[in-house]
């Protein structure tokens, strides 16, 4: 992992964020559990604290705390083929487990299906368990292009979300606070995009494994000034590294793309393994999702709801194969890649189930080789080290031969 000064700062702000959430009730504040692609700007407008169970599940995965949580979920009757984030969440709630010993109870739930349909089922379970109101924003899968009709559908639901929030919080929806939150969101996502674009530099000052770690603030603090401050500092640090020609690894010779979610419990292992080959992933489809929100030019727009609707429909995981193929080909070119890695996450159907034919097509169009690595984002039992390393070695050999 690249030694970045910003990392300790990030741990600090994430710590503060969770502490505030845990103390919310004491301070007369309300907590909402929300999905990672939720239009959180609406929550900031009413002063609710958003908590992201997905972020906590990633944290549990990275701290090797997941196994116990998954066993608990299984004992509650949740099948092993279900999303491991959801199972981790159910187990953490039942055991009050994981590094933070459970999450603060939600007062309400906001679920946006732009990342998958699974979250709808996950949040239905939460709604029954906590007996709190759930607002489900239906953000359809974009099979072709984001149409005006689709934007209108989502926009209409945003209006409903405003009413829902005003009622829950017992005060009118604050349009000024909302505009401010959108502005902060726009700035943070713009900065995040700049962070990710640094991967184009040769050598790249940071790699995708680093971006998985530094993702936390754009997910959880998007819409607040803290995310803007954080990424401003990170961009500064990275610019300095670029000007010094300092790469994330000393001998960068194989540049790659990472598709799908991280393998949270093996980030360091994979980073080191690849680094030994001079290989490094410099761009990832997953981290780009929050940058795509920034793509929509939120700042200075009259129709904020429409702009947000379009932005939140954009994430990679919500797009069809034509988009995915073109996107991967474009990244290969813009980031000067030698090949691509596809993590086939066995419990993330929307991300994984198009990978096989997409891989073939991208290889055909770009001439660059890809490799599929079968695992899971947080379930360690799905990771077979020998299988992964064998595949990676063969892949890296073939990349070197071509070069």
């Amino acid at each position: 992992m690249t030694k970045l000064a910003s990392t300790s700062k990030m741990k600090e702000i994430m710590g503060t964020y969770y502490l505030e959430a845990k103390n919310a009730a004491h301070n007369g504040l309300k907590v909402a559990w929300v999905t990672s692609g939720a239009p959180v700007e609406y929550l900031h407008a009413v002063g609710a604290i958003p908590i992201y169970p997905e972020n906590y599940a990633a944290m549990c995965g990275a701290s090797h705390a997941t196994a116990e949580l998954l066993r608990k979920a299984e004992s509650l009757g949740y099948a092993g083929e279900l999303c491991s984030y959801a199972r981790s969440d159910f187990g953490a709630e039942a055991l009050q487990g994981g590094p933070l010993m459970g999450l603060p109870r939600p007062d309400f739930l906001v679920c946006a299906s732009n990342i998958c349909n699974t979250v709808t089922k996950w949040y239905q379970v939460l709604s029954r368990h906590f007996q709190v109101p759930l607002f489900l924003v239906d953000m359809p899968f974009v099979h072709d292009d984001i149409s005006e009709e689709m934007v209108a559908y989502v926009k209409g639901q945003f209006a409903g979300l405003e009413e829902f929030l005003a009622e829950i919080m017992g005060r009118p929806f604050d349009r000024d606070r909302f505009s401010e939150a959108v502005l902060q969101s726009a700035r943070a996502t713009e900065l995040w995009r700049e962070v990710l674009e640094m991967g184009k530099a040769r050598p790249a000052p940071l790699n995708s494994f680093d971006t998985f770690i530094h993702l936390a603030p754009i997910v959880t603090l998007r819409g607040t000034p803290r995310a803007v401050e954080y990424y401003t500092a990170l961009v500064e640090e990275l610019r300095e590294r670029v000007s010094r020609g300092e790469g994330s690894i000393p001998n960068e010779r194989i540049r790659l793309l990472w598709d799908n979610l991280p393998i949270w419990y093996r980030i360091k292992y994979l980073a080191d393994f690849l680094a030994n080959w001079g290989a490094v992933p410099v761009v990832a489809t997953y981290t780009n999702s929050w940058a795509l929100i920034g793509d929509v030019q939120l700042e200075g727009r009259d129709d904020l709801a429409g702009a947000l609707a379009r932005a939140y429909l954009s994430p990679f995981i919500n797009r069809g194969v034509r988009y995915r193929i073109e996107y991967l080909c474009r990244m290969i070119e813009e980031f000067s890649l030698d090949g691509f890695l596809m993590h086939s996450d066995r419990t993330c159907k929307p991300y994984s189930l198009t990978q096989l034919p997409v891989k073939e097509e991208v290889q055909r169009r770009t001439g660059k080789p890809g490799v599929v690595l079968e695992a899971d984002k947080v379930d360690e039992t799905a990771f077979v080290e020998a299988a992964i390393t064998t595949r990676l070695e063969a892949f890296l050999e073939s990349v070197l031969c071509r070069n």
Partner: protein
């Protein structure tokens, strides 16, 4: 009549080809779940339900990983066969991630075949549903116009709606008869009849079912009365195990059976009517409704039907069903209803282990009944 319908269920391709020859209508495959099928009929096409099959998986392996649900995999397997080339188009809905991505995989695996995904509104904001459905209806009609060569007029649709109204009335009568006289047909035959409806035009199915209903015995019969629940009763042959174990299936909660047939066809070509259609009938794991409790619903169904037990027919790896299952089972058990979960894949052939568990379940039910009779 029964033989003919059973034959249709057991040889779907031959059945579909027969009606294709007779009617000359383009075949449009309607995939899970809840696309308003009368629209396909009104466009002058022959809608054929594709809810999975028992093909061994081979060609589909290079397109879908093994953790895809077996229904999706088997559908792709079938669609990839050259013999399926006569299918003019495929209609999906947004019901789950597996099928959303399957629609995309189709675009790469079968690039010449028109594919459409109907977006079912799963939202907490009810006022957003109708305007959305109005637009989806427009999109669906444009697709059907392309694939079937005709955009249905309101009059075309009215005729189709009437036909499908008759269809669901007959099917519900069939279910009512089942609950009262479960020994009239074997479990296998009951579901074979329902399955046949996916492979023939409703104009042909309706009179056949009507005729069958007239001939059915009114025989109660002994045996453990069970309510089945799951996404679809595949593979059909598993029902023979239910017969052999001495169970009487008195009703079901399958998305590809009762949940589908319990819905009232949209009365007109309007988004508001499609909305009513989607909101009608039994709740489903794939249709979100704020405050819905399928556990309580199923417990009530068990009581209404006088069922002795509940069997969850779990197809690997159906996600919406698997998320609902723990709550369903908890609620049913809380209400003192015996439950059993049977796990299968569409290509499963060996049911020995399932048979043993089902027999044990039937024995458990018999003991419960005896206890009840004594006390």
């Amino acid at each position: 009549m029964l033989d003919e319908l059973r034959e249709a269920a057991e040889n779907p391709r031959a059945e579909v080809m027969k009606w294709l020859r007779v009617t000359g209508r383009p075949v449009v495959a309607v995939l899970p779940a809840y696309f308003p099928e009368p629209l396909v009929h009104a466009a002058g096409a022959f809608p054929v339900g594709m809810w999975g099959n028992t093909l061994p998986l081979g060609a589909s392996d290079s397109y879908l990983q093994s953790f895809s649900c077996s229904i999706a995999r088997s559908i792709l397997e079938l669609a990839l066969k050259p013999e399926s080339d006569f299918i003019a188009g495929f209609i999906f809905t947004s019901m789950c991630d597996n099928f959303e991505t399957l629609a995309e995989v189709f675009k790469l695996a079968l690039p010449r075949k028109p594919v459409f995904t109907f977006v079912i509104p799963n939202t907490s904001h009810l006022p957003s549903r109708r305007p959305h459905l109005e637009r989806e209806l427009d999109r669906a009609l444009a697709f059907l116009s392309r694939v079937a060569g005709k955009r249905p007029s309101p009059e075309d649709y009215a005729r189709s709606a009437k036909l499908y109204g008759e269809f669901v009335r007959l099917v519900r009568e069939f279910y009512r008869h089942r609950a009262l006289f479960p020994a009239a047909l074997s479990n296998y035959d009951f579901y074979a009849v329902l399955k046949a409806s996916f492979f023939m035009p409703k104009e042909e199915f309706n009179p056949r079912l009507r005729s069958l209903l007239e001939d059915l015995d009114r025989v109660g019969g002994e045996g453990a009365r069970v309510l089945l629940s799951g996404i679809v009763p595949q593979p059909l042959s598993l029902l023979k195990v239910f017969d052999a174990a001495g169970t009487r299936v008195v009703g079901d909660d399958f998305a590809g059976a009762y949940r589908l047939f319990s819905k009232e066809p949209a009365a007109a070509l309007l988004g508001s009517e499609i909305d009513k259609y989607l909101l009608s009938g039994a709740p489903c794991s794939t249709l979100h409704r704020d405050g819905q409790d399928r556990g309580k619903y199923l417990a009530a169904r068990v009581r209404e039907l006088g069922a002795d037990g509940f069997v969850n027919w779990h197809i690997k790896f159906c996600e919406p069903e698997a998320f609902d299952r723990p709550h369903l089972l908890d609620e049913l058990r809380r209400q003192g209803i015996p439950t059993l979960v049977l796990e299968v894949e569409t290509s499963s052939r060996n049911f020995d282990a399932l048979r043993t568990r089902l027999e044990a379940f039937v024995e458990l039910i018999r003991q419960e009944k005896e206890k009840g009779a004594v006390s």
